[in-house]
């Protein structure tokens, strides 16, 4: 009783390492995915080292430099490489600090949505019957609303702010994880290895989290990556609408909202924060695409 279940539940280290090596092999075949990975890593470094890299403090207002254009344009200077905004703050520094918010938002939202969705989906798929029916109807209700609208209304209820925006976005993204987990659990739960574990005396919690869950992870990882970029986009959209992070936070969406009235006078105030969002989201999506192809056995046959 002591030796056998251990062998069954823990594969030898070699197999797992080999699986990771295989995953990396297929992932690295995809040029876009590798570029996405490097850009994402660079962003993480920028976010972590923001106080070291940023040339100015993000909320420092230079009274002598309102709406200074980027350095290559007439009137610009290398003191403010990407120019300044309407109250004289250095845009490059704000963008560098903003990367912290975006990556933080993505990480927090995906963690909440992933953990919540996995637990809910496991319970629904494992128990079935009325538990499943009730849970899935609640998920349907959430999905019946357009996600940004529901998040907006939730933030209106909770009060504007970055934390509440993250909670709201996690809540509207979570049904996708629950549905995926449930479908995977239903496909796996009658397989022989699960029955074997059950016969060997594994309890419900062990069956759910140790036996079944590791075999449902592939689609969840892919969905997690795509949700990471969705969370960044939605949080920026809420910030843009004035319901997310509040000024003077250097969050990219909030920066865009503040810049809106200057769009026809100072293109750089509007262009750079959006470009930062686009590059970040694009890099993560490239990585997500690569992961999906690497994890999908159907595409591996060639």
């Amino acid at each position: 009783m002591t030796a056998t279940p251990d062998l069954a539940s823990k594969p030898p280290a070699g197999t797992r390492r080999q699986m990771l090596a295989e995953l990396w092999f297929y992932f690295s075949q995809n040029r876009g995915a590798v570029i996405g990975l490097w850009v994402t890593l660079a962003l993480v470094v920028v976010a972590l080292a923001a106080p070291l890299i940023a040339p100015h403090a993000p909320s420092m207002q230079y009274r002598d430099a309102f709406l200074v254009p980027p350095f290559w344009q007439e009137g610009g200077s290398t003191r403010f490489l990407l120019g300044t905004d309407a109250i004289g703050r250095d845009i490059l520094s704000r963008l560098i600090y903003g990367s912290r918010y975006s990556l933080f938002i993505g990480a927090v939202v995906v963690t909440i949505a992933l953990v919540g969705g996995i637990v809910i989906g496991l319970v629904a798929g494992f128990f079935g019957g009325w538990v499943d029916a009730v849970i899935m109807r609640v998920m349907d209700v959430i999905l019946a609303f357009p996600s940004l609208l529901l998040a907006l209304v939730l933030v209106a209820v909770l009060g504007p702010g970055l934390m509440n925006a993250m909670i709201a976005i996690a809540l509207v993204l979570q049904p996708h994880f629950a549905r995926l987990t449930r479908a995977a659990v239903m496909a796996e739960k009658n397989r022989e290895y699960v029955v074997a574990a059950q016969v060997a005396g594994a309890g419900r919690l062990r069956l759910m989290f140790r036996t079944i869950l590791p075999n449902c992870l592939a689609p969840l990882i892919v969905q997690g990556t795509l949700s990471f970029s969705n969370a960044i986009l939605d949080a920026a959209a809420l910030g843009f609408l004035g319901m997310g992070a509040q000024p003077p936070t250097p969050e990219w969406g909030t920066m865009l909202a503040e810049a809106r009235e200057f769009i026809l006078r100072a293109w750089w105030v509007v262009t750079f924060p959006g470009l930062a969002i686009l590059i970040t989201v694009l890099a993560i999506n490239l990585m997500g695409d690569g992961l999906r192809d690497a994890l999908d056995p159907k595409l591996k046959r060639s």
Binding site: G32, R137, V138, D140, V141, A144, F145, P146, L148, L149, L152, V153, A156, V157, G159, S229, L233, A236, A237, F240, L241, G242, M243, G253, L256, R260, I263, L264, W267, V270, T271, P273, G274, I277, L278, V281, L282, N285, L286, D289
Partner: protein
């Protein structure tokens, strides 16, 4: 087929009840007293307060209030807007055509470009066309569309001066609303230049709103085509000596379209419910902008009614898509 339809419809009843609970609960969980909120800044006498409390039914137990809310709902009464004092339903219906017009234009544009691009990319897999179109699609899919809209305004309205910045038609034109669709009404009015002005106002919002659906449709068409092109029946058709064009256009395309049609349908549902960001940027007087404005004005009856209508529209469109799916793909009808 009728059983299939009734089954789907029955399935939606608990979901819709859930939606009504969310919309009802939304106003109840808001911080603050609803009557004081309604009275606004000026304050209110205690007698008037009690009277309003009673009149609005807030002195009743919550479950009774909910049943009354449902009862009013079935009579088509969504309450009155706090700001305009007009019925929420009629306000919604006045703005709805603007949203539908924009949503339809966007989905037509997305489909007309997305499907051919996806098919061509799949047929010429690995070519420069495939790489460029799929790269562009991924950029479109990753686009923060509120920023995209601002960029287009800078370029086309600011620098080039080709298109107007906001609204549905120039203020110079005034004519009665017949259908609510500006493109049709402007033609009916017979005024010179009215139609052109309506089109010019539509172009930028349509491009912005179409961006993400276009990317999704192109990517999905490509992967569906690739899957189908690998099937045995495609090889058989080819081996029979049918020309490649016919194999792709008839055998493969028809089967590949099944998942794509579903995607398009689901996108319509979302777009019909109001394009919050696009409508806000271009001041497009539709449902999305109205909802955002109502949230900011704390016009809670409007938000409540809007939420209900929006969810109902999404659910109805999804039901229709489900039915069409059953029609074009008989295999799932019996599951």
């Amino acid at each position: 087929m009728i059983r299939f339809f009734l089954g789907k419809l029955l399935y939606l009843v608990p979901t819709f009840l859930g939606v009504t609970i969310v919309a009802f609960g939304f106003v109840r969980v808001l911080p603050g007293d609803p009557v004081l909120l309604m009275a606004g800044e000026r304050g209110i006498s205690p007698e008037r307060y009690d009277q309003l409390m009673q009149q609005l039914g807030y002195d009743q137990p919550v479950w009774w209030q909910y049943l009354e809310f449902l009862g009013r709902l079935f009579r088509g009464d969504l309450g009155e807007s706090l700001v305009t004092k007009s019925p929420v339903l009629s306000e919604f219906l006045t703005l709805f055509p603007a949203t539908v017009e924009l949503a339809l234009c966007a989905i037509v544009l997305a489909t007309l470009i997305g499907i051919p691009a996806g098919v061509l990319a799949a047929v010429k897999r690995g070519s420069w066309f495939d790489q460029i179109s799929m790269g562009t699609a991924l950029i479109g899919y990753s686009m923060p569309i509120f920023w995209w809209g601002l960029l287009l305004i800078i370029l086309f309205s600011g620098v080039l001066g080709w298109t107007p910045v906001s609204g549905r038609i120039s203020l110079l034109f005034f004519f009665p609303e017949v259908t609510g669709f500006m493109l049709i009404d402007s033609l009916l009015s017979g005024q010179d230049g009215a139609f052109g002005s309506a089109v010019a106002h539509l172009i930028l919002p349509t491009i912005v709103l179409a961006t993400i659906p276009l990317a999704v449709i192109a990517r999905q068409t490509r992967s569906a085509m690739l899957e189908v092109l690998g099937e045995d029946y495609v090889r058989t058709a080819r081996a029979k000596g049918l020309p490649w064009r016919r194999v792709v256009g008839v055998h493969a395309l028809r089967n590949a379209m099944i998942p794509v049609v579903t995607t398009i349908g689901l996108q319509i549902g979302v777009l019909m419910a109001g394009a919050i960001l696009t409508e806000t940027i271009f001041s497009w007087p539709g449902i999305g902008k109205w909802m955002v404005d109502s949230i900011f004005r704390r016009d809670y009856p409007a938000v409540q009614g809007g939420l209900l209508m929006v969810a109902a529209i999404v659910m109805a469109v999804n039901l229709i898509v489900d039915l069409l799916y059953g029609l074009i793909n008989p295999r799932i009808r019996h599951v």
